[in-house]
């Protein structure tokens, strides 16, 4: 019999992966069980497995901080032409992979290429592809809100990786004059097409996206802050066999 190439390495890694696969299956079964136990509707029904370090989907309904706005109807983005998503798009969360949702999706291209707004069981969802996924297949960050909240507040989703970010906002019907209001008092107009706004980059804590709601109040939406991606002084490296060392030292240092 021909000796198996890299016999030691291949077998060692196989043992590690087998244990990790079993542990991962166990973890997933616990998560599935806890999800089943949640009876109340969740505003967030899924986030694609955004595969980057520090890539997070920040999922928040837009909050009106001044007064109470009165939406005129469904957000304009829902009136975009229907663009059915291929049923085999297995990278969408399972909750969205039903014929009803897929066949009623609206593409937000060209304002937000690859992004969709789509209905899902009494909710509306915003699905945005992760531009930096490590997988060959597309992955989505997804946020959802019940129909009434969606009409009142719209939806927002931010994808952040270090200082790189994209925020996609679907405004309620009647919102106008979108602008970025910086904490230093300056404002900058941003374009909106069919009630869809894309804001690129990360911002300081009190910088916000503002729109003027149909009732004249100001609607403010937070913008993402940068996430540090460089290792900090306290970060450790696992060198295997129970040996943990400061990251700066590396595993070769004894």
């Amino acid at each position: 019999m021909t000796p198996k190439p890299l016999h030691n390495f291949v077998n060692d890694l196989e043992r590690n992966l087998t244990a990790a696969a079993a542990a991962e299956e166990h973890r997933n079964s616990i998560q599935r069980a806890s999800r089943t136990a949640l009876a109340s509707p969740m505003p967030l029904i899924g986030i694609g497995a955004l595969a980057l370090v520090a890539l997070v989907a920040i999922v928040l309904a837009i909050t009106a901080t001044t007064g109470t706005s009165t939406a005129l109807g469904a957000p304009p983005a829902t009136r975009l032409p229907v663009t059915p998503i291929p049923a085999q798009d297995a990278t969408l969360p399972k909750d969205l992979r039903n014929a009803e949702s897929l066949s009623h999706a609206r593409s937000l291209a060209p304002t937000a290429p690859g992004a969709y707004v789509l209905p899902a069981d009494g909710q509306w969802c915003l699905a945005v592809p992760d531009p930096k996924t490590e997988l060959p297949t597309r992955e989505y960050g997804v946020t959802c809100a019940p129909d009434a909240a969606f009409r009142r507040d719209g939806l927002k989703l931010s994808l952040v990786s270090g200082t790189d970010a994209a925020t996609i906002v679907i405004t309620p019907d009647g919102d106008t004059d979108p602008r970025i209001a910086l904490a230093n008092g300056t404002t900058k107009t941003v374009p909106a097409t069919d009630g869809v706004i894309v804001v690129r980059g990360t911002y300081k804590p009190n910088d916000v996206l503002e729109t003027t709601a149909a009732d004249g109040t100001t609607r403010r939406t937070s913008l993402p802050e940068a996430i540090p991606t460089e290792p900090g002084p306290g970060d450790l490296r696992d060198c295997g066999h129970g040996r943990i060392v400061p990251l700066a030292d590396g595993c070769d240092k004894r």
């Binding site: 190439p5 890299l6 016999h7 030691n8 390495f9 291949v10 060692d12 890694l13 196989e14 590690n16 992966l17 087998t18 244990a19 990790a20 696969a21 079993a22 542990a23 991962e24 299956e25 166990h26 497995a49 595969a51 980057l52 370090v53 520090a54 291929p86 085999q88 297995a90 990278t91 593409s107 291209a109 060209p110 290429p113 690859g114 592809p129 490590e134 997988l135 060959p136 297949t137 597309r138 992955e139 991606t229 460089e230 290792p231 696992d238 060198c239 295997g240 066999h241 595993c251």
Partner: protein, 189 residues
């Protein structure tokens, strides 16, 4: 074990796997191909060990997202490995992230393994590795279009949207990319 060896990649990745043996069978099926792919990219042994482990750890974390459009998951794995390699070369901080998420110990080569690995550098390349090597030589738009169409199985409408092209241009990029791939790989047309 023999029963698992006959299962498709989609079944090995998609079916319940309480003891991890299905993923182990999947790993055994493809591990050497991934190592050979890395070896032919002049990757040193320590890096090859890390990237191979990281590639399979990423596949494990995303196993339910594998789309069985092809008989084999090898193009999917090779693309993950290629992405990891690019990240590593660019010094991105996310390297070995999947290993950390799974709390997986790093696996290292023994002296015997190092000799075997060196032989992979000079041995015959797998067809998939040759295709990926050729793919890297295509212009950026053609490479992206071919990957989206052939590896990901995306529609031309999707490709046009992703790459900000017209559908006609998306088709042209895929077609020209495939023609050039054949040429690069020594085909007749």
């Amino acid at each position: 074990v023999a029963r698992l060896e006959n299962e498709s990649d989609a079944d090995l990745l998609g079916a319940p796997d309480p003891d991890g043996t299905r993923f182990a069978a999947f790993y055994r099926r493809h591990a050497i191909a991934i190592l050979a792919f890395l070896a032919r990219r002049d990757v040193d042994t320590t890096t090859a060990g890390d990237l191979t482990a990281e590639t399979f750890a990423t596949a494990l974390l995303h196993r339910r997202r594998y789309e069985p459009r092809h008989a084999s998951a090898r193009p999917w794995l090779l693309t993950i490995a290629a992405n990891k390699l690019v990240d590593r070369e660019r010094g991105r901080a996310r390297e070995l992230k999947a290993l950390r998420r799974l709390s997986l110990e790093r696996t290292t080569f023994t002296d015997t393994d190092v000799q075997d690995y060196e032989s992979l550098r000079t041995g015959p390349a797998t067809d998939e590795a040759l295709v990926l090597d050729a793919l890297e030589q295509l212009p950026e738009k053609q490479r992206a279009a071919v990957r989206l169409r052939v590896v990901d199985g995306r529609s031309y409408a999707d490709i046009a949207s992703d790459l900000r092209l017209s559908q006609t241009s998306a088709r042209q990029n895929v077609h020209r990319g495939l023609v050039r791939l054949r040429t690069l790989m020594g085909g007749t047309r």
